[in-house]
Every structure is written in structure tokens, then in C-alpha cells.
Subunit: 451 residues, 2 copies
């Protein structure tokens, strides 16, 4: 049965309040499915369903949930149940949950764990959010440097059942530094007497614990890795980040970029889970800042008051012209910001892309000038049509060039190019559009310069 | 040596024109590194570097490149070299390249391939772009249903060296339908005499060839799969999609969504590789459409001409108010569109989110009203300050509600919620803003209704 059918059946069972059939259906779900299901339920149902799961499944399911839901579940458990849950969670997910608990609960958990686990948890939980250390797991498979394929496989069977992956195995020297890596595939395909050191690849891509998580995800994706080893400042191996975590990071980074493009600050919660205060704080900052940006447009309009009152038909086309400038600018900025984020475009490509943008923007400006010229002719006659068409070409080109350049300039200044959000670019393009439009109008309509 | 150091050395060697040292440095690169390097070089250098690679590496490297670069390289090769290259490429990448070649070259390739490979290529190349069939590979590992762990491992050693992954293995019945799946990890950890049928999981998540690629990527990510099996309409297994392809799809889908949010159409090429015509066509459509949206704002302004000429100070605040409305709307729309895309938010969450949005938007409106009230007081006195502040609250709330509702409405109508782009929302919010502002102004300043 697929997820949709199962979740319908589960909804029906919950409505009937039949615990036995709820448990039977939950048994058919994978942990990821349970998480997907409870994500859209209220807190009460979530807690009830989670309580029906056997401990092992519960620990796994919780790992898939958002932190706000995880915290709710953790807070509903007494201290010894919570400690038991912790023992069954993956090392990396456990550390993340630990970090959102209050201090009293943290201490009670630490007291109840065995010494090794306590040390492991303390260490994993200590890395700063957003770094390789914070997303890595300490459960990885290692081999001694000197062993045969047969010994290696026996070693893995004996030591690695808890490892997050045994498909990529690391060979460590006596100082815990990475001497090489070998895949299980290579081990399986090789002769059992072959020394593993002959199979291993010694040029291993590894990153330090403080590497930003998006860099880790980018390398895993670039090299199609199953896992990427993480080292500390002394080059000792301390963990791995697996491909599935890299996928989650990539999704979170894409969300962050998309939000940034609309002037929304970085949110660590899901939209569903975010509090009103969080939503307010993530949105207010730029909205207020942009108010001051838009003042320049207002000042431009005020400056050309006289032109406006003489040719009132000009006002009709104002939103259209400044809007088009802003839209073309947003397009150009968005293309550049995303290109820089994926690595498709680099700083050194700027010159070539600028040339392209001038041509594309000119073609766009001509098209749009053509589209509005008839309307302008109809509403304002020949002269207005000329002003509007010429302005359209000019503002679309100006907006596009501002939009494409701003991300590069920001990048050059070591600022995040994603700060060149559509609204920021639009507000700059708007002000430029006002000035361009009324300058052209003043010139063509033969009005005196004002003030 | 890491990539940055190596690429600097390679740049130096290319400038000196020393073929031997270029070859030596290339030898240190992984295929993904070579691809990353040539991506930012001109065509001539790319062709030269690629020609230095041994056939096996060349085939791998090409798989990492954009189609425009792949095509350039393919077209530089004579037909027999190209056929040899094809024989060394991965089945899925080969099919993608095949699809962009011209017909004459396609036929010449097919003639030169062995019958099995020809059939495989024809079949893989036949699936529609953007579907599971188009991204899957036919190189996967299978096992007979009746075998022991020991036999299974021997079978894998003998049959699977070409498989894209041997970590997830499929057991097929006599009609080629999936009876179950087992991971190499389970095989390794089990006793060698255990029948594989006892280890296998029979409830396998599989998708059909025509499933959209983003759905495939979403499931791979949700269940943390290494590979997801693909079946045809007769439920026969025909391929797998691996996690690394899912990562590429997820990145491409995020790019598409980001572009859509700025009214840029779907591009299959990279920004660097896109032609002027493509860039023009992907941008012109919505820009022209939005012109007509912005006409409504113009009409609103024209309607309130008299109010404007009486209180000219109002014009100064116009861009600021309509801009803020548009910006708040873009924020709300972006949050919803991304929430719907990642599955964080569903249609059924609409009511709850609307309630939240009203509260957040009110708080944002109050904040921004406060920010502009001083300025309005200074520039226009008490009455103008009242008009501007009240309008700010109203337009920010109106813009936000439009922005958050539009994606849901589109989704409800089975349209892509991502069509609720920032510029579209802004243009609707702008027109609304104009009407709200001047209505409030007319009412408070005690002007007669106009026209």
C-alpha cells in the first residue's frame, strides 16, 4: 500500500478512536511516513500516535520531525523515558534535539547516559549551528590500515552494525588521521586476500568541523559522494556527513535563498512551526529599510511636480514604467544570484554576461515599448507615445543592468549576493525609472527644467 | 592537493602551453574537478583539455558537463571516436547526450553500437524529458529470488561490476516484477547460508517511468534512499534513479522555482550556456503581461487625479505605500509558495495560516505606519500623517493577504502555485494600494468623490 492510501486509513481509524487498528496501521508505515503524517496533525494527535510506536521506531520517527515538534514530544516525556529515547536515536539527530532542550533536561539526560555516549553527545552538541560539525554523525565505519579484504569484511561485521553507512569506510593511522578510504563495493569485488591498502584511495576529500554546511553539501553533490569525512583542527577524523543529510541541507539552503530573494530573514523553523514573533521579526527589517529606498521615488516625483501637472496623462503611465523597470531588474538579479549560488556563474564571468544582458535588455525594452506605444498613442497622442516608448526602452535597460550588477558588486564586497533581493532591486530601479521617465518627458515635451 | 590549488597550477600550465605538465595535472583531478574547471574556460581550451583525457575519464567527465558543452565536444569528434565515447559513458548520461545530437549523428552512433547497447540506448532515450524514465539508468543490480547470502554475493561479483550501485539490490520474479529489495549492508551482516528472501523487504517503494522527476527526487529524499526502482506500465522493473541524480534534480527544481518567482520561464540550459534568444524568450512573456497588470494602478491614479492635484504632497508617499504593499505581499507569497513546494504546508493548512498572517501583517503594518508617520507629519502636517499611517496599515495587510492567498487559490485550481511570483503579487498589491490610499485620503481629507 502506498502512503496516500495508508494515511487515509489512518485518518479513519483516528476518527473512530480505535487504538488497536491505529497501531496496526502504524506498523505498516515507515518512520518517514509517520513523520510526514503527524506533521499535519495537531499536538494531541501527534503525541498519541508517537506514544503508540515501539521505542526503536519512535526514536527514528522523531529524527524526521521539525525541531518544534521534536521539542513538544520530548517535553511530554518524563526524564527516564526521554533518556531511553536518546539512547535509540542516531548520534547526529540526538545532538540536535539535545541542543533545543532546556538546561535542566539536558543535565538529567547527561546523568542517565553511559560515559561514552555522554562524551559523544557533549561533543556533537558543541559545534556551532550551520557547520559541518553540527550536521555530522560520529557513527562511521573504520578499518585498520593493515588488513586484508577478508579481515576487513569480518571487522565491519563485528564493529559497524551501528554505523550510519558501511558503504564508505575509512582507514585511520595511529593518530586518527585519514590514511585512505575504500568503498564496500571495492571490497566486495576484490579478492579476499588482497590487502585493503592496495584498494584504498589515499587522496581523500575531507573538510574541517567548522566548514559551513552548504559547502559540505556542495562537495557531496559535486563528487556524488555517499559520505564526506570531517576532521578537527588536528586533522583527526571526528565524523562523517552522509548524502541524505546533504540533501536536507541543500533543501534548507534553497529555502533560505528563496526567502532572502523576497527580503525574508533566515528561519530555522518551518513555516507551520514558526511563531508569530519569529515571522514578524524575519519580515519587518527589510520592509522598513525599503520604505526609505522608496522615498527616493517619491522625491523624484515631487521634483517633477510641474511636468506632471502640465501633462497629467504622464501619471497614468508611471506605475507601468517604474514597475517594468523593477520587474526586468528582478529577473536579471534573480538569474545572477542563483547562478552565483549554484556555481554556474563566477565573478570572472561578469564582463561576458554584462554584454549579453545589454542585448537581451534592449530586445526586451523594444518589445515592451512596442506593446505600450499603441496605448500611449490612444491616451495621450503622438508626443506622449514617443515619451513613453523611449522611456520604456531606457528604464528596462537601466533596471536590467542594475539588477545584474548588484549581485556581483555585493559578491565583490564579500557580502552575500542574495541580498540583491527582488524588492531591493525594484526599489532602486523604481527611483531610477522615475528620473529617467520625467527627464525624457521634460526633454521631448519641451518643458523648462523645474525649480 | 585540493581543487583550488590544482586549478591554479593547471591555469599556469595552460598559459605556458606545456602539454606534458597539463596532462600530469589533469591526472590528479577527479572527473568532477575537470568538469568544474572547463565549465569556466572557452570552447577551445575545453576541447583541448578533454582531448588529453584517457577515454574512460573523458566519458566520465562529459557526464558532469552541461548539455551545451557536451554537444560542443561531441560535435568536435569524428563518428567513430564519438561511438567509442558512447560505449564508455553511463547508460543514463549517454541517453541524455544522444537526445541532443542531430539525427545523422544519432543514426551513425546506433549503427556502431552492439545490439544490446543499441536497444538499451534507444529505450532510455525515448522517455520524455522531466520524467523518471529520462533520469533513470538501466545499470542496476538484480538477484534471483531463490538464493543464499553467499550465492547472492557471488552473483553480484560476477554480474554487477557495471551497475551504478550495488548497495541496493532488487529481487525480480520470472515476469521481471519486483519481489523485494535487499541492501548490501544486510547481505554483509547476515550469515552466509541465510536465504536472501528472508532478508528482503517486500514492500518496495517504486515509481512508474512517467512520474515527474521532482516526485522521484522528493521520495528519495523523504525515505533517505540510495536508489529508487522504476517500473513500466506492466509493473516490470526497467531502471533505478540514484540519490546523486535526485540531488541534481532537486537543485534544478529549486532553480526553476527561484526563476519562476521572478517571472523567468523554465530554462534547460545554464545561464552561462543560454543563448540570447532563449534568455529573451524566457523573460519577455511575463514582463509584457505584467504591463497590463500595472495599467490598473495607472487607472487608479487617473481616477483620483483631482485629489492628487489638491493635495500634491500625497504623490510623494505614493511609491512608498504601493511599494510596501507589494513587498509585504511578495514576502507572504514567497513563504507560501516555498512551503507548498517542500511539503511543509498543505492546502488544508490555509485557514490556520490565514489567521496567523492577519496578525503578523497587522503588526508589520503598525510598525511601518509608525516609521513613516514622522516623515508624513514633517512633510504634510497632521492630516497627511493620519492618511499615510492609516493607509500603510491597510495596504500592508491587504498586500499580505493577497500574497498568501494567491498561491493557495492557484493550487486549488490545479495550477502551479509558483505562478504567484513576486512581481505578479506586487502588481496586484500595487493597484489595490493605489485604491486604498486614495480612498482613505478622500475620506479623511473631506474631498468630494470624484468624476
Amino acid at each position: 500500500m502506498n502512503y496516500d492510501t495508508l494515511s487515509e486509513t489512518l485518518h479513519a481509524a483516528i476518527e473512530q478512536g480505535n487504538s488497536d487498528s491505529i497501531k496496526a496501521i502504524l506498523d505498516e508505515f515507515q518512520a518517514a511516513d509517520v513523520a510526514e503524517f503527524v506533521r499535519h496533525e495537531d499536538a494531541e494527535t501527534t503525541l498519541r500516535l508517537i506514544s503508540y510506536l515501539p521505542l526503536e521506531d519512535r526514536a527514528q520517527t522523531i529524527g524526521y520531525l521539525d525541531f518544534s515538534d521534536q521539542l513538544e514530544i520530548a517535553n511530554s516525556l518524563d526524564e527516564s523515558s526521554l533518556a531511553r529515547l536518546f539512547m535509540h536515536m542516531h548520534a547526529d539527530e540526538r545532538a540536535d534535539l539535545f541542543n533545543v532542550l532546556d538546561q535542566k533536561r539536558q543535565e538529567s539526560i547527561l546523568r542517565r547516559l553511559a560515559r561514552d555516549e555522554r562524551e559523544d553527545l557533549r561533543k556533537l552538541a558543541s559545534y556551532e549551528e550551520g557547520t559541518a560539525g553540527a550536521i555530522m554523525t560520529s557513527e562511521y565505519a573504520v578499518l585498520p590500515v593493515e588488513c586484508s579484504v577478508e579481515q576487513a569484511l569480518a571487522h565491519l561485521r563485528a564493529t559497524a552494525p551501528d554505523a550510519e553507512t558501511i558503504y564508505q569506510v575509512y582507514l585511520l593511522d595511529e593518530r586518527h588521521r585519514i590514511a585512505g578510504t575504500v568503498s564496500l563495493r571495492e571490497l566486495i569485488l576484490a579478492h579476499s586476500a588482497t590487502p585493503v591498502s592496495k584498494l584504498m584511495q589515499s587522496d581523500v576529500v575531507a573538510l574541517t568541523v567548522d566548514t559551513p554546511q552548504e559547502e559540505v553539501a556542495r562537495l557531496i553533490s559535486r563528487y556524488d559522494l555517499l559520505a564526506l569525512p570531517i576532521i578537527d583542527s588536528g586533522e583527526r577524523m571526528v565524523g562523517i556527513v552522509t548524502y541524505d543529510d546533504a540533501m536536507d541541507v541543500a533543501e534548507a539552503e534553497a529555502t533560505e535563498d528563496i526567502h532572502k530573494g523576497a527580503t525574508i530573514g533566515k528561519m530555522t523553523e518551518s513555516l507551520r512551526g514558526a511563531s508569530l514573533i519569529t515571522l514578524y521579526r524575519k519580515r519587518a527589517g527589510w520592509l522598513v529599510l525599503l520604505v526609505f529606498g522608496q522615498l527616493f521615488s517619491g522625491m523624484g516625483i515631487a521634483y517633477y511636480e510641474e511636468t506632471i501637472s502640465t501633462y497629467i496623462a504622464l501619471v497614468f503611465f508611471l506605475p507601468l514604467l517604474v514597475g517594468s523597470s523593477g520587474n526586468a531588474g528582478s529577473q536579471a538579479a534573480t538569474l545572477m544570484v542563483r547562478g552565483l549560488a549554484t556555481g554556474d556563474v563566477r565573478l570572472s564571468d561578469w564582463g561576458r554576461l554584462l554584454g549579453k544582458e545589454v542585448l537581451v535588455a534592449t530586445a526586451l525594452g523594444l518589445t515592451m515599448a512596442f506593446a505600450v506605444s499603441f496605448l500611449a498613442m490612444y491616451r495621450g497622442g503622438y508626443e506622449i507615445a514617443l515619451v513613453v516608448s523611449m522611456s520604456m526602452i531606457a528604464v528596462v535597460i537601466a533596471g536590467s543592468l542594475i539588477g545584474m550588477s548588484l549581485p556581483f558588486v555585493l559578491n565583490r564586497l564579500n557580502l552575500d549576493p542574495a541580498t540583491a533581493s527582488a524588492p531591493l532591486v525594484a526599489s532602486i530601479a523604481d527611483a531610477t525609472g522615475v528620473l529617467v521617465y520625467f527627464s525624457i518627458a521634460t526633454a521631448i515635451l519641451g518643458l523648462p527644467a523645474i525649480n
